[in-house]
């Protein structure tokens, strides 16, 4: 492909197409932003206004007055989910990729199928047991539930990636007298930095945008993430759409920034093991 040549007019032309494609993909996002500035009475104007003429910042004012603490909660939940996910899935990935345990294949299959349980069934199960344990509306409770979105995926990625770590390195570690744990901790894990970043990023983003678990398990009380902040604008009979969309816009900014920053690692981390068989 055209990797070696310096940017020419031809590649700028591609940038043009790229912009158009991105624009198409992001149009609904633009629409969300547009709605977030729209007055209630113009919401269903026909034909719709392409720009928020007579726009209002009422939605944003509401968000900045009321929503900032929720961002903090979302951040903590995201970090907690990342820690839990990596702690659970990295050792599992190592074992499945390198130690070939009996029944390992079955376990991978179980992990995969565990993901197929519809979210609402999971949420209701969690709700019943959390109610019993008294951990509804707590951060650890939400973190545990959110991690179910990412752990199976994490195991998958770690397994794929770690099977790409050369066996010679592991044997060398054994020769040096390292046990399994040390081999894992000081050889395999550092080599899997990209996979760690990838899994962390995905875990963080899934936790960040989760809505089903949050609304079921943290719907009341003091620890609500930003996606639930939306409920402040959904009344029994009424919804304040500009504020809802403004919340969504504000909520996606930190996530988008993170995504752009971590791009580099993700690209090299996600499938390295799977491609080089």
């Amino acid at each position: 492909m055209t990797t070696t040549t310096a940017p020419t007019r031809r590649t700028w032309w591609k940038t043009g197409i790229g912009l158009v494609l991105t624009g198409l993909m992001l149009f609904p996002v633009y629409w969300m932003i547009n709605v977030s500035f729209t007055r209630d009475r113009d919401m269903r104007a026909s034909p719709p206004h392409l720009f928020p003429v007579d726009g209002t910042v009422e939605g944003y004012r509401a968000v900045f007055d009321q929503q900032l603490p929720y961002l903090g909660t979302s951040f903590l939940v995201g970090l907690g989910t990342v820690a839990l996910t990596v702690a659970l899935s990295a050792p599992a990935g190592y074992a499945l990729a390198k130690l070939r345990p009996p029944g390992g294949r079955a376990l991978s299959f179980l992990l995969l199928t565990a993901q197929m349980i519809p979210g609402i069934i999971m949420a209701m199960g969690f709700y019943a047991s959390y109610l019993e344990l008294g951990i509804l509306n707590t951060l650890p409770g939400l973190i545990l539930a959110d991690s179910t979105l990412a752990v199976p995926f994490g195991v998958l990625i770690f397994t794929a990636f770690m099977s790409g770590v050369p066996d010679e390195l592991l044997q060398a570690a054994v020769v040096d007298g390292a046990g399994r744990l040390r081999t894992f901790w000081s050889v395999v894990l550092p080599l899997s930095r990209n996979a760690v970043v990838t899994v962390s990023l995905f875990a963080f983003l899934w936790a960040w945008s989760d809505f089903v678990f949050a609304s079921t398990l943290a719907g009341g009380g003091g620890h609500q993430p930003i996606t639930l902040g939306i409920y402040r604008y959904i009344g029994n009979n009424n919804q304040q759409w500009n504020a809802i969309m403004a919340t969504a816009v504000v909520a996606s900014v930190p996530a988008a920034v993170l995504l752009v920053l971590a791009q580099r690692y993700v690209s090299t981390g996600i499938t390295a093991g799977a491609v080089k068989d």
Partner: protein, 408 residues
């Protein structure tokens, strides 16, 4: 690998797991008890700094307890209440949408007024009916709402329609035709495939003289034909099939529509419309106001293992439903109070509420007529039938015949 190191691995692994589980358990909230009482309400829009929460706190102080309040999205609340009841963890006071009461009562999750000793004598009988089953009362209405027709003054004036003349379906239809001739749009409502859709259809259904026990009766078919014809003739937008009551309100707010079927709760938003509006009762087929369904929430006292808690719960509910507090709450919610004396005070403060108070007095509970827990199934069949007819999948006759079959 040596045995010791293997054991160490295992220990580490187990420790991780325990740390996770333990971390989750150790931070568990204190179970309610002692001086704290749990209140669940379907008003997530009210934050901790709102008047509603302040009122809850005040009532708690009056009863000498702390109130722990949680506001849930209304659609989740039925299931959460049922699950909580199953686990024996119900809140002390539960505020829910009125048709839910009969379901929770059927589940045995709510106490009756015999058990909790609440006084409901001042409550309007037609509103209280939604909380009654087989002669027992399971809750107290905290406020009521119902449906009427909002109209756009200028659009009607331009079309030469006098809103006061719209007292039957024929007059409404001719008004719609005149409005359309002027290039404006007719009417918008919500026919979505949920309880909201049935709620909006009922005034026409009842207004035609139909009964919920016979969904395929000729009057019922005539009501659905009225709606289907509006869509076919372009008097109502096709989007009504997917409209929630909020979406339908947004359509009306564009100023293009002559009429909108909507509820009491839109009054605050109505003041923000950029045009003059008025309100008339929904006409019955043969004339006069059609009975509209009652909306609004009930305050109930769920069953507790410790029945000694009911006394305090009663104090809380009595405080929440006292005249002054009802007035304050119903004003914030744009609801009509369930007590006649308070309704009069509401009208005195804002004469525009007169139409609504009258509508609420004429309104009918959905779970009334002793339908109770049969209502949910009937309602689901009904909204499915309405959707089939409006989307053109079936004729009104076929759609309602199918609805009656599934409603059984």
């Amino acid at each position: 690998m040596t045995a010791t190191s293997r054991r160490r691995c295992l220990a580490a692994a187990v420790a991780t797991l325990v740390a996770l589980a333990g971390g989750a358990c150790s931070s568990a909230d204190e179970p309610s008890g002692g001086g704290s009482y749990l209140v669940w309400d379907p008003y997530p829009q009210f934050a901790d700094d709102s008047a509603w929460v302040a009122l809850l706190r005040k009532c708690g102080e009056g009863a000498g307890v702390t109130v722990e309040r949680t506001g849930y999205d209304t659609t989740d609340l039925t299931n959460k209440a049922l699950l909580a009841a199953q686990q024996g963890n119900s809140p002390d006071v539960l505020i829910v949408d009125n048709p839910v009461i009969s379901t929770l009562a059927e589940a045995g999750a709510l106490t009756t007024t015999d058990e909790n000793k609440l006084d409901v004598t001042t409550m309007a009988a037609n509103l209280l009916a939604a909380g009654q089953r087989e002669g027992r009362t399971y809750g107290v209405p905290i406020g009521a709402n119902t449906l009427a027709l909002y109209y756009h003054k200028e659009v009607l004036a331009a079309a030469g329609v006098d809103p006061a003349t719209i007292t039957d379906w024929a007059a409404l239809n001719s008004a719609l035709t005149k409005v359309k001739a002027k290039g404006k749009k007719g009417i918008t409502f919500s026919a979505i495939g949920t309880e909201e859709g049935s709620f909006q259809f009922l005034p026409w259904f009842w207004g035609a003289g139909a009964q919920l026990t016979a969904l395929d009766s000729p009057p019922a078919v005539s009501a659905l034909t009225l709606w289907a014809d509006w869509l076919r003739q372009g008097h109502a937008p096709n989007s009504v099939i997917n409209n929630t009551q909020t979406t339908s309100w947004q359509e009306f707010a564009t100023g293009d529509y002559a009429f909108a079927e909507n509820g009491t709760w839109q009054l605050a938003n109505a003041e923000k419309l950029g045009f003059g509006y008025g309100i008339i009762a929904i006409p019955a087929r043969a004339g006069g106001p059609a009975p509209a369904p009652t909306g609004g929430e009930f305050v109930s006292v769920p069953v507790q293992r410790d029945t000694g808690r009911y006394a305090t719960s009663r104090q809380l509910v009595t405080c929440l439903t006292s005249a002054d507090n009802l007035l304050a709450t119903d004003t914030t919610l744009s609801y009509v109070a369930p007590v006649t004396a308070v309704q009069d005070r509401q009208v005195a403060a804002d004469p525009k509420l007169t139409v609504w108070v009258e509508a609420v007095r004429a309104a009918k509970g959905r779970t009334g007529d002793n339908l109770g827990t049969r209502y949910p199934k009937i309602s689901e069949s009904l909204w499915t039938g309405v959707q089939s007819a409006l989307s053109g999948a079936k004729t009104p006759q076929e759609a309602l015949a199918a609805a009656q079959r599934t409603a059984g």
